[in-house]
Amino acid sequence: MSGILNSSIGRKIAMALSALFLIFFLIIHLAVNITSLFSADLFNELSHFMGTNPLVQFALQPVLVLGVIFHFIMGFVLEIKNKKAVGNISYKRNNGAANSSWMSRNMIYSGIAILAFLILHFIDFWVPEMNHKYIEVLPEDPTRYFGELQHKFVPIWRVAAYVVAFIFLSLHLMHGFTSSLQSMGVSAIRKKFYKNFGLVYSIVIPLGFIIIALFHHFNH
């Protein structure tokens, strides 16, 4: 494994695999959350399943946490390595917009914005959840999830932070979706099908999360 990560293409493939895993995870996450728009019962049921199923809790959850950690640590490692490859003197004039998208040139910044959001998101939902289940071991109430979700989106500052974060997520995905496929050896970046699919994905998924946050802010 370390041998693979010593190679530039190996790192690229590892980065892409973790990205594709997270891209898949976002679909699951949105699918569960979207039920909260029309059925509190269904949302509670799904959340209870996700929160108590041992396979989800002790197999998928650790993989997800490690996947996120690997993706952002690798992102920083690549940024540092690439800065070194560029050297000390930068161009006095560089017209990046002439040949590449803003999103592709600023993945590190959209990534940092998403990482900052993830810290907030973990403090908001994951830490209380872990505390509830494994530290204080409070009695499980299968109907508590919907109320907790509504409660979180009462303060407008949190809704605003989430909306801004999802816009950065969208920008990150606009490059990241096709880029991860390209790294895996699929010529995705210039192909219409993948480009359009990636664009739809990177707008629909974050927009879904934005709608959920706004919906619960205005309907509680």
């Binding site: 530039s8 690549l78 490859a85 560029v86 050297g87 006095k92 004039r93 490059h175 699929v186």
Partner: protein, 253 residues
Amino acid sequence: MSGKGMNLTLQIWRQKDANDKGKMVDYKVTDISEHMSFLEMMDVLNEQLVNSGEEPVAFDHDCREGICGMCSMYINGEAHGPDRGITTCQLHMRMFNDGDTITIEPFRAAAFPVIKDLVVDRMAFERIQQAGGFISVNTSGNTQDANSLPISKHAADEAMDAATCIGCGACVATCKNSSAMLFVGAKVSQYALLPQGQVEAADRVKNMVAQMDLEGFGNCTNTGACEIECPKGISLDNIARMNREFMAANIKG
């Protein structure tokens, strides 16, 4: 044509030698014809500098017909300047306007150190080629007939497209990560697509990628800038193919 040409301000990177710190210096050129190539305009400037007893600007150039890959300037923030599908020598002054300020810098990357002014050392590309960019065949009088190994038209075309890479280094210069993957992808692909390249395919991609990393080129993040700036239009597909070749070579062990 006197009096009808363009008057331009040139901001050029001047650096005495590899150890000099270097800086941008402003020059004026007058009465530049729009029909001149960019390098002819540089010749005019250098003549002016020589006549006034100054050191001329050193820059790489050779064939001046877009096929050798020697010329290597970063003009107005783009490798080989603002035009597409051309090297600097094929850039013409009609792409600019009277009164313009044009910035001219060397190709920059840690693996392409400046030798003098606009001349950079691109020997790293040679060393990558030497690591695997060849096929080992005995050519001492017993070469096969070209038609004894049928090759599909599609594969032959794609291999030929990859082989048009002239190794100028514009991909590295334009990449925000100073990655050489378009160059190495093209060199790997031109053999990977042909039966003659299969025997050494796994070693080739592993050795060339290892040498690329050793030279200190960066990690590709698929911005696609290299393909846009490449004078030969080398496709990003070649990078994807190299990734596949690399995966296959490592899985096979």
